[in-house]
Protein backbone atom coordinates (compact mmCIF):
# COMPACT_ATOMS: atom_id res chain seq x y z
CA UNK A 1 0.00 0.00 0.00
CA UNK A 2 3.09 2.15 0.14
CA UNK A 3 2.14 3.61 3.49
CA UNK A 4 4.96 4.88 5.58
CA UNK A 5 5.86 3.80 9.07
CA UNK A 6 8.82 4.71 11.27
CA UNK A 7 12.21 3.49 10.00
CA UNK A 8 13.24 2.25 13.42
CA UNK A 9 10.82 -0.65 13.10
CA UNK A 10 12.64 -3.78 12.00
CA UNK A 11 10.39 -6.50 10.70
CA UNK A 12 11.19 -10.16 11.22
CA UNK A 13 8.82 -12.49 9.45
CA UNK A 14 7.70 -15.74 11.02
CA UNK A 15 5.19 -18.26 9.69
CA UNK A 16 3.06 -17.76 12.78
CA UNK A 17 3.49 -15.80 16.03
CA UNK A 18 3.15 -19.17 17.73
CA UNK A 19 6.65 -19.89 16.52
CA UNK A 20 8.11 -17.13 18.62
CA UNK A 21 9.93 -18.36 21.71
CA UNK A 22 10.49 -15.76 24.39
CA UNK A 23 14.24 -16.31 24.24
CA UNK A 24 14.25 -14.75 20.77
CA UNK A 25 12.84 -11.53 22.15
CA UNK A 26 15.15 -11.59 25.16
CA UNK A 27 18.10 -11.93 22.78
CA UNK A 28 16.80 -8.96 20.85
CA UNK A 29 16.88 -6.89 24.03
CA UNK A 30 20.36 -8.18 24.82
CA UNK A 31 21.47 -7.03 21.37
CA UNK A 32 20.18 -3.52 21.86
CA UNK A 33 16.48 -3.53 21.05
CA UNK A 34 14.43 -0.97 22.95
CA UNK A 35 11.08 -2.63 22.37
CA UNK A 36 9.49 -5.59 20.65
CA UNK A 37 6.05 -6.30 19.40
CA UNK A 38 4.40 -9.36 18.02
CA UNK A 39 1.86 -8.85 15.32
CA UNK A 40 -0.32 -11.89 14.84
CA UNK A 41 -3.54 -12.80 13.11
CA UNK A 42 -6.91 -11.83 14.53
CA UNK A 43 -8.05 -14.23 17.22
CA UNK A 44 -10.01 -17.03 15.66
CA UNK A 45 -8.31 -16.53 12.28
CA UNK A 46 -5.00 -18.16 13.02
CA UNK A 47 -3.92 -20.28 10.10
CA UNK A 48 -2.45 -22.76 12.55
CA UNK A 49 -5.57 -22.54 14.73
CA UNK A 50 -4.17 -21.42 18.09
CA UNK A 51 -0.65 -20.20 17.39
CA UNK A 52 -1.60 -16.60 18.13
CA UNK A 53 -3.27 -17.60 21.42
CA UNK A 54 -0.07 -19.32 22.51
CA UNK A 55 1.88 -16.24 21.52
CA UNK A 56 -0.35 -14.02 23.64
CA UNK A 57 0.24 -16.19 26.70
CA UNK A 58 3.96 -16.13 26.07
CA UNK A 59 3.95 -12.36 25.71
CA UNK A 60 2.18 -12.09 29.10
CA UNK A 61 4.84 -14.32 30.63
CA UNK A 62 7.58 -12.33 28.92
CA UNK A 63 6.22 -9.06 30.33
CA UNK A 64 6.59 -10.53 33.78
CA UNK A 65 10.17 -11.60 33.04
CA UNK A 66 11.10 -8.20 31.67
CA UNK A 67 9.64 -6.54 34.77
CA UNK A 68 11.67 -8.91 36.93
CA UNK A 69 15.01 -8.06 35.40
CA UNK A 70 14.28 -4.35 35.32
CA UNK A 71 13.89 -3.85 31.58
CA UNK A 72 10.15 -3.27 31.85
CA UNK A 73 7.27 -5.35 30.54
CA UNK A 74 5.79 -2.28 28.81
CA UNK A 75 8.48 -2.65 26.15
CA UNK A 76 6.83 -5.70 24.67
CA UNK A 77 3.32 -5.92 23.24
CA UNK A 78 1.14 -8.12 21.10
CA UNK A 79 -1.25 -6.89 18.43
CA UNK A 80 -3.75 -8.83 16.37
CA UNK A 81 -4.33 -7.76 12.79
CA UNK A 82 -5.34 -9.33 9.54
CA UNK A 83 -2.81 -9.22 6.70
CA UNK A 84 -5.17 -6.95 4.81
CA UNK A 85 -5.01 -4.21 7.42
CA UNK A 86 -2.07 -2.23 6.05
CA UNK A 87 -3.32 1.04 7.53
CA UNK A 88 -3.71 -0.54 10.96
CA UNK A 89 -0.22 -1.96 10.78
CA UNK A 90 1.23 1.46 10.13
CA UNK A 91 -0.70 2.82 13.12
CA UNK A 92 0.55 0.00 15.31
CA UNK A 93 4.12 0.68 14.26
CA UNK A 94 3.73 4.38 15.03
CA UNK A 95 2.00 3.72 18.34
CA UNK A 96 4.67 1.29 19.44
CA UNK A 97 7.45 3.64 18.40
CA UNK A 98 5.91 6.52 20.32
CA UNK A 99 5.48 4.37 23.38
CA UNK A 100 9.08 3.20 23.34
CA UNK A 101 10.38 6.65 22.63
CA UNK A 102 8.55 7.88 25.74
CA UNK A 103 10.03 5.08 27.79
CA UNK A 104 13.47 5.95 26.58
CA UNK A 105 16.25 3.59 25.54
CA UNK A 106 16.35 0.15 27.08
CA UNK A 107 18.03 0.29 30.50
CA UNK A 108 20.32 -2.52 29.33
CA UNK A 109 22.05 -0.28 26.85
CA UNK A 110 25.26 0.93 28.44
CA UNK A 111 25.85 3.64 25.89
CA UNK A 112 22.34 4.98 26.16
CA UNK A 113 21.56 8.48 27.31
CA UNK A 114 19.36 7.76 30.32
CA UNK A 115 17.86 11.17 30.81
CA UNK A 116 15.13 12.29 28.41
Amino acid sequence: MRLSYPTNVKIIKVPCTGRVDIILILKAFENGADGACLVGCLEGDCHYLVGNMRARKRVEYLKHILDECGIGGERVAMYNLSSAEGQHFAEVAREMTDKIRNLGPSPAKQTAVRKI
Binding site: I23, K27, F29, E30, C69, I71, P107, A108
Partner: protein, 222 residues
Protein backbone atom coordinates in the same frame (compact mmCIF):
# COMPACT_ATOMS: atom_id res chain seq x y z
CA UNK B 1 9.28 -36.56 38.20
CA UNK B 2 10.83 -34.15 40.62
CA UNK B 3 9.07 -30.81 40.34
CA UNK B 4 10.60 -27.47 41.22
CA UNK B 5 10.04 -23.72 40.91
CA UNK B 6 12.58 -21.09 39.99
CA UNK B 7 13.60 -18.92 42.90
CA UNK B 8 12.44 -15.31 42.91
CA UNK B 9 14.67 -13.19 40.71
CA UNK B 10 15.79 -10.96 43.62
CA UNK B 11 17.16 -13.99 45.45
CA UNK B 12 19.08 -15.15 42.39
CA UNK B 13 20.51 -11.75 41.67
CA UNK B 14 21.55 -11.34 45.32
CA UNK B 15 23.40 -14.66 45.25
CA UNK B 16 25.19 -13.72 42.03
CA UNK B 17 26.17 -10.23 43.12
CA UNK B 18 29.83 -10.87 43.93
CA UNK B 19 30.50 -12.75 40.67
CA UNK B 20 31.12 -11.82 37.07
CA UNK B 21 31.88 -15.21 35.50
CA UNK B 22 29.13 -17.68 36.09
CA UNK B 23 28.45 -21.22 34.92
CA UNK B 24 24.69 -21.80 34.70
CA UNK B 25 23.76 -25.48 34.74
CA UNK B 26 20.55 -27.10 33.68
CA UNK B 27 19.28 -30.66 33.57
CA UNK B 28 17.59 -32.55 30.77
CA UNK B 29 15.40 -34.70 32.98
CA UNK B 30 12.83 -33.81 35.64
CA UNK B 31 13.34 -30.07 35.66
CA UNK B 32 12.97 -30.02 31.88
CA UNK B 33 9.66 -31.85 32.09
CA UNK B 34 8.31 -29.37 34.62
CA UNK B 35 9.74 -26.45 32.62
CA UNK B 36 11.90 -25.11 35.45
CA UNK B 37 15.55 -25.89 34.69
CA UNK B 38 15.93 -27.32 31.21
CA UNK B 39 17.97 -25.77 28.43
CA UNK B 40 15.16 -23.32 27.56
CA UNK B 41 14.85 -22.08 31.10
CA UNK B 42 18.62 -21.86 31.44
CA UNK B 43 18.71 -19.67 28.32
CA UNK B 44 15.94 -17.42 29.63
CA UNK B 45 17.50 -16.99 33.08
CA UNK B 46 20.93 -16.32 31.59
CA UNK B 47 19.42 -13.66 29.35
CA UNK B 48 17.55 -12.07 32.23
CA UNK B 49 20.66 -11.94 34.40
CA UNK B 50 22.71 -10.45 31.58
CA UNK B 51 20.07 -7.80 30.91
CA UNK B 52 19.83 -6.93 34.58
CA UNK B 53 23.57 -6.70 35.03
CA UNK B 54 23.91 -4.62 31.85
CA UNK B 55 21.36 -2.27 33.35
CA UNK B 56 23.41 -2.10 36.56
CA UNK B 57 26.57 -1.48 34.52
CA UNK B 58 28.10 -4.60 36.07
CA UNK B 59 28.22 -6.91 33.06
CA UNK B 60 28.48 -10.60 33.59
CA UNK B 61 29.63 -13.57 31.54
CA UNK B 62 27.39 -16.61 31.73
CA UNK B 63 28.09 -20.00 30.20
CA UNK B 64 24.95 -22.06 29.70
CA UNK B 65 25.33 -25.83 29.97
CA UNK B 66 22.54 -28.37 30.23
CA UNK B 67 23.61 -31.85 31.28
CA UNK B 68 21.70 -35.00 30.52
CA UNK B 69 21.42 -35.60 34.28
CA UNK B 70 23.07 -34.03 37.31
CA UNK B 71 22.62 -37.03 39.55
CA UNK B 72 24.97 -39.51 37.87
CA UNK B 73 28.74 -38.97 38.11
CA UNK B 74 29.40 -39.82 34.42
CA UNK B 75 27.57 -36.72 33.24
CA UNK B 76 29.36 -34.43 35.66
CA UNK B 77 32.69 -35.44 34.12
CA UNK B 78 31.92 -33.32 31.08
CA UNK B 79 32.18 -30.18 33.22
CA UNK B 80 35.82 -30.83 34.06
CA UNK B 81 37.45 -28.98 31.13
CA UNK B 82 35.89 -25.64 31.94
CA UNK B 83 34.26 -25.55 35.38
CA UNK B 84 37.30 -23.93 36.89
CA UNK B 85 37.17 -21.07 34.40
CA UNK B 86 34.12 -19.79 36.23
CA UNK B 87 33.99 -18.16 39.64
CA UNK B 88 30.81 -19.84 40.69
CA UNK B 89 28.27 -22.38 39.51
CA UNK B 90 24.55 -21.72 39.64
CA UNK B 91 22.40 -24.76 39.07
CA UNK B 92 18.84 -25.09 37.86
CA UNK B 93 18.86 -28.81 38.57
CA UNK B 94 17.01 -30.27 41.51
CA UNK B 95 18.46 -30.30 45.03
CA UNK B 96 20.13 -33.63 44.31
CA UNK B 97 21.95 -32.29 41.29
CA UNK B 98 22.94 -29.08 43.03
CA UNK B 99 24.56 -30.98 45.85
CA UNK B 100 26.15 -33.62 43.64
CA UNK B 101 28.02 -31.09 41.52
CA UNK B 102 29.37 -29.56 44.72
CA UNK B 103 30.47 -32.99 45.93
CA UNK B 104 32.39 -33.64 42.72
CA UNK B 105 33.94 -30.24 42.38
CA UNK B 106 34.67 -29.46 45.96
CA UNK B 107 36.32 -26.12 45.31
CA UNK B 108 33.31 -24.74 43.45
CA UNK B 109 30.41 -23.12 45.22
CA UNK B 110 27.16 -24.35 43.66
CA UNK B 111 24.21 -22.01 44.15
CA UNK B 112 20.57 -23.06 43.82
CA UNK B 113 18.53 -21.17 41.25
CA UNK B 114 15.44 -23.18 42.00
CA UNK B 115 13.41 -24.47 44.95
CA UNK B 116 12.92 -28.20 44.65
CA UNK B 117 9.42 -28.98 45.80
CA UNK B 118 7.90 -32.39 45.22
CA UNK B 119 7.66 -35.71 43.36
CA UNK B 120 4.73 -35.49 41.06
CA UNK B 121 3.01 -36.04 37.75
CA UNK B 122 1.85 -33.92 34.83
CA UNK B 123 -1.88 -33.56 35.40
CA UNK B 124 -2.23 -31.55 32.20
CA UNK B 125 0.08 -29.53 30.00
CA UNK B 126 1.56 -26.89 32.27
CA UNK B 127 0.18 -28.31 35.52
CA UNK B 128 2.18 -30.55 37.82
CA UNK B 129 0.92 -31.94 41.10
CA UNK B 130 2.37 -33.86 44.02
CA UNK B 131 1.80 -37.58 44.29
CA UNK B 132 4.55 -39.17 46.37
CA UNK B 133 6.57 -38.26 49.43
CA UNK B 134 8.89 -41.21 49.40
CA UNK B 135 7.75 -42.56 52.75
CA UNK B 136 9.58 -45.81 52.11
CA UNK B 137 6.64 -48.01 52.97
CA UNK B 138 4.04 -47.95 50.25
CA UNK B 139 0.41 -48.49 51.28
CA UNK B 140 -1.21 -47.92 47.90
CA UNK B 141 -2.62 -51.43 47.91
CA UNK B 142 -4.60 -50.58 51.03
CA UNK B 143 -6.00 -47.31 49.80
CA UNK B 144 -6.80 -48.47 46.29
CA UNK B 145 -4.10 -46.45 44.59
CA UNK B 146 -4.45 -43.06 46.28
CA UNK B 147 -1.70 -42.04 48.68
CA UNK B 148 -2.95 -40.88 52.07
CA UNK B 149 0.50 -39.72 53.15
CA UNK B 150 0.96 -37.32 50.26
CA UNK B 151 -2.49 -36.36 49.11
CA UNK B 152 -4.06 -35.92 52.54
CA UNK B 153 -2.81 -32.72 54.17
CA UNK B 154 -2.86 -34.48 57.53
CA UNK B 155 -1.56 -37.84 56.28
CA UNK B 156 -4.56 -39.47 57.87
CA UNK B 157 -4.84 -43.23 57.47
CA UNK B 158 -8.45 -43.50 58.60
CA UNK B 159 -10.02 -40.53 56.95
CA UNK B 160 -11.63 -38.26 56.07
CA UNK B 161 -11.32 -35.67 58.81
CA UNK B 162 -14.15 -33.29 59.67
CA UNK B 163 -12.88 -30.59 57.37
CA UNK B 164 -13.64 -32.34 54.10
CA UNK B 165 -16.24 -30.31 52.22
CA UNK B 166 -17.65 -30.88 48.75
CA UNK B 167 -14.81 -33.27 47.98
CA UNK B 168 -12.22 -30.61 48.77
CA UNK B 169 -9.59 -30.34 51.46
CA UNK B 170 -9.98 -27.72 54.19
CA UNK B 171 -6.49 -26.49 53.38
CA UNK B 172 -7.22 -25.44 49.81
CA UNK B 173 -10.54 -25.45 48.01
CA UNK B 174 -8.79 -26.48 44.79
CA UNK B 175 -7.28 -29.54 46.44
CA UNK B 176 -9.33 -32.70 46.25
CA UNK B 177 -9.84 -34.42 49.60
CA UNK B 178 -7.74 -37.56 49.32
CA UNK B 179 -10.18 -39.49 51.46
CA UNK B 180 -13.11 -38.47 49.28
CA UNK B 181 -11.13 -39.94 46.38
CA UNK B 182 -10.35 -43.08 48.37
CA UNK B 183 -13.98 -43.56 49.46
CA UNK B 184 -15.15 -43.02 45.86
CA UNK B 185 -12.66 -45.64 44.69
CA UNK B 186 -13.92 -48.08 47.30
CA UNK B 187 -17.45 -47.51 46.02
CA UNK B 188 -16.46 -47.87 42.35
CA UNK B 189 -14.75 -51.15 43.10
CA UNK B 190 -17.50 -52.40 45.42
CA UNK B 191 -15.14 -52.63 48.34
CA UNK B 192 -16.88 -50.50 50.98
CA UNK B 193 -16.49 -53.22 53.59
CA UNK B 194 -12.76 -52.68 53.35
CA UNK B 195 -13.29 -49.05 54.38
CA UNK B 196 -14.40 -50.22 57.82
CA UNK B 197 -11.02 -51.81 58.52
CA UNK B 198 -8.96 -49.68 60.86
CA UNK B 199 -5.64 -48.97 59.18
CA UNK B 200 -2.68 -49.39 61.52
CA UNK B 201 -0.20 -46.70 62.47
CA UNK B 202 2.49 -45.84 59.99
CA UNK B 203 6.07 -46.76 60.55
CA UNK B 204 7.78 -43.48 59.75
CA UNK B 205 11.26 -44.85 60.32
CA UNK B 206 11.51 -45.72 56.63
CA UNK B 207 10.85 -42.10 55.63
CA UNK B 208 12.89 -38.94 56.12
CA UNK B 209 12.08 -39.20 59.84
CA UNK B 210 14.38 -42.19 60.16
CA UNK B 211 17.35 -40.27 58.80
CA UNK B 212 18.88 -39.91 55.30
CA UNK B 213 18.34 -43.05 53.27
CA UNK B 214 20.43 -45.17 50.98
CA UNK B 215 19.90 -48.07 48.64
CA UNK B 216 22.66 -50.53 47.78
CA UNK B 217 22.85 -53.35 45.29
CA UNK B 218 26.00 -55.28 45.97
CA UNK B 219 25.81 -57.16 42.68
CA UNK B 220 26.00 -53.89 40.78
CA UNK B 221 28.98 -52.46 42.60
CA UNK B 222 32.10 -52.54 40.44
Amino acid sequence: MIVANRKPFEEIIAMLKPYSKILLLGCNECVTVCATGGSKEVAVLASEVRLYRQKESKPVEIKEVTLERNCDPEYLESLKPFIHDYEVVMSMACGCGIQFVGEHYRDRLVLPAINTTFEGVTEEHGVWAERCQGCGNCVLDRTLGICPVTRCAKSIFNGPCGGSQGGKCEVDKDLPCAWQLIVDRHKEMNMMDKYLEIQPMKDWSTSRDGGPRKRVREDLKI
